[in-house]
C-alpha cells in the first residue's frame, strides 16, 4: 500500500533498546510524581498559610503550570535558564519541567479535595492539642491524598506521556528519544513509532490497573 513495505522484523529487533528507553521514561515519570506530590503538598500548605507572599507564590505556580504548554515549561527549564548561564542536562531539564507541571496540577487537585474535608476535622485535631501542622499532617493530608488519588493517577499517566517532549531538549535515552534515534538510523518510521505507541499504551494501562488495585486497599473505610 502507498509503496511502503512493512518490515516489522527489523523494527522488532530494536525492541530491547526501546524497552530500556521505557524504563528511563518510567523513572522520569515516577521521580516527577514523587517530587511533584511533595511540592504540591507544600504549595497547598502555602495556600492555607494565610501568608500573602506564600499564597501568591503558590497561586502563580499553579496558574503558570496549568495555563502554559508543557513544552514551554520544559523549554524554560532547559534553554530558558541556559540564558542565565544555568545548564541542566536534558534528563534534568525534562524532570524539572514535568515536575513543575505535576506540582501545579496536583496542587489544584489537592485544593479541590480539601473542600470535601470539613473544617471541623482540623478543629477536632487542634482541640486534642495538635499544632496546625500536626492536624494537617495526621488528619487532613491522609484524607486529601485519598480523595485526590484518582486525579493523581491521571497525572501519573500524563507524566509518562509528557516524557515524549524530552526529544525537544535533546534527550535520547527515554522511550521516545530512543525511538527517534532508531528511526534516524533505519527509517522504519511507522513500525518503530507504532511499537513505541503500543509500549506507551501498555505502561499507562498498567498504571491505571495498578492504581485501581491500590485504591481498593486504600478506600476500605
Amino acid at each position: 500500500m502507498f509503496g511502503y513495505t512493512f518490515q516489522w522484523k527489523q523494527a522488532l529487533s530494536k525492541l530491547p533498546q526501546m524497552l530500556d528507553g521505557a524504563l528511563v521514561t518510567m523513572e522520569i515519570a515516577l521521580l516527577s510524581m514523587a517530587i511533584g506530590i511533595a511540592l504540591a503538598v507544600l504549595l497547598t500548605l502555602f495556600r492555607l498559610s494565610g501568608n500573602r507572599v506564600l499564597n501568591g507564590f503558590a497561586v502563580t505556580w499553579v496558574e503558570v503550570a496549568r495555563n502554559t504548554p508543557a513544552l514551554f515549561q520544559i523549554y524554560m527549564a532547559h534553554f530558558g535558564v541556559a540564558s542565565f548561564g544555568i545548564h541542566f542536562s536534558p534528563f534534568t531539564s525534562l524532570l524539572i519541567g514535568i515536575t513543575f507541571n505535576n506540582a501545579g496540577y496536583l496542587a489544584e487537585n489537592f485544593r479541590g479535595a480539601l473542600k470535601a474535608i470539613p473544617e471541623t476535622q482540623t478543629r477536632a485535631g487542634r482541640s486534642l492539642g495538635m499544632t496546625p501542622l500536626e492536624a494537617f499532617g495526621y488528619i487532613v493530608m491522609p484524607q486529601m491524598l485519598r480523595i485526590a488519588f484518582l486525579p493523581m493517577t491521571n497525572q501519573m499517566v500524563w507524566a509518562i506521556l509528557m516524557t515524549s517532549l524530552g526529544v525537544t531538549v535533546g534527550l535520547n535515552i527515554d522511550l521516545y528519544g530512543v525511538t527517534q534515534d532508531l528511526n534516524a538510523l533505519t527509517f522504519r518510521t511507522f513500525e518503530l513509532f507504532a511499537i513505541a505507541g503500543v509500549i506507551f499504551y501498555l505502561i499507562t494501562k498498567i498504571i491505571q490497573l495498578g492504581a485501581r488495585l491500590v485504591a481498593a486497599r486504600l478506600f476500605r473505610y
Binding site: T120, Q121, A124, L128, G129, Y221
Partner: protein, 240 residues
C-alpha cells in the same frame, strides 16, 4: 478550676457574649442551657482557645487561656472537648482515632496508647469495635468514640458542646449514659445541652444563658422549679 471573668465576644457586629462571669470548681458538673444563639457554645470554644475573646479573662488552673505566652496546645491537653458533630477521623479505625493524639501529642508508645485507648473505649461501651472504621458506627457510637478520644488524653476537664443534638432520638440515651458515668466518677464537666431532664439529674449547677448574658445560675432543683427571670420561665415553658 475554670474561672471566667467578664468575658466579651463578638462575631463582627454580633455580640455573642456580654460580660460572662463564672467559676467552675474542680469536680463540678455544670450544665449550660439556653436558646440557640445565646452564646453557650461559643463560651466552650473560648474556654479551650479555639475562639479568641474580645475582653475579659479565662483562667484554667490559673493559666490565662488567651495570654500570648500561653501554650494553647499544651493547655488543650487538659481540656477535653466533644462537639455536636462527632468529627470522627474517617481514615482511621476506632482504635487509631483514640490513640492518634496520645501518640503524636503526648509521645506515648504504641502499647501505652493502645492500653489507654482500650480502657477508654471499653468504658464507653466500644471495646468490641477497635478495628472498625467510623463509617461502620452509628451516630451514637461515633459520639461515644469521640468522648473516649478526648478522655484518652487524660484531661482534667471535659467540655461537651450539645453532644446529643445531631443524634437520632433513640441514640441520645446511650451518649447521656456515658456522660452520667463520667459525672459519677467526679470528672469536672461543662455540658451545653438541650436535654433538660439530663441537666436536672446530673448537674451540680445549671446556668441559663440568654442573648449572651448568664441570666441565672443555681442548683437544678432551684433553677428548674423556681425560675427567677421571665426569660427563663418562657424558655422552660417552651421546652417542656
Amino acid at each position: 478550676m475554670i474561672e471566667i471573668e467578664n468575658v466579651y465576644k463578638s462575631f463582627g457586629a454580633l455580640q455573642v457574649l456580654k460580660g460572662i462571669n463564672l467559676t467552675v470548681p474542680n469536680g463540678e458538673v455544670l450544665t449550660v442551657i439556653g436558646g440557640s444563639g445565646s452564646g453557650k457554645s461559643t463560651l466552650l470554644t473560648c474556654i479551650n482557645g479555639l475562639e479568641k475573646i474580645d475582653s475579659g479573662r479565662i483562667l484554667v488552673d490559673g493559666t490565662d487561656v488567651h495570654a500570648k505566652s500561653t501554650d494553647l496546645n499544651k493547655l488543650r491537653q487538659k481540656l477535653g472537648i466533644v462537639f455536636q458533630q462527632f468529627n470522627a477521623f474517617p481514615h482511621l479505625t476506632v482504635l487509631e482515632n483514640v490513640t492518634l493524639a496520645p501518640r503524636k501529642v503526648l509521645g506515648q508508645s504504641k502499647e501505652q496508647a493502645r492500653e489507654m485507648a482500650v480502657k477508654q473505649l471499653s468504658h464507653v461501651g466500644l471495646g468490641d469495635k477497635l478495628d472498625v472504621y467510623p463509617s461502620r458506627l452509628s451516630g451514637g457510637q461515633q459520639q461515644r468514640m469521640a468522648i473516649a478520644r478526648a478522655l484518652a488524653m487524660s484531661p482534667d476537664y471535659m467540655l461537651f458542646d450539645e453532644v446529643t443534638s445531631a443524634l437520632d432520638p433513640q441514640l441520645v440515651g446511650e451518649v447521656l449514659d456515658t456522660l452520667r458515668l463520667l459525672a459519677s466518677e467526679g470528672m469536672t464537666m461543662i455540658c451545653v445541652t438541650h436535654e433538660m431532664k439530663f441537666a436536672r439529674e446530673v448537674s451540680d449547677r445549671v446556668a441559663f444563658f440568654d442573648k449572651g448574658v448568664m441570666a441565672e445560675i443555681a442548683p437544678p432543683a432551684q433553677l428548674f422549679d423556681a425560675p427567677q427571670t421571665e426569660s427563663l420561665k418562657t424558655f422552660l415553658a417552651a421546652t417542656h
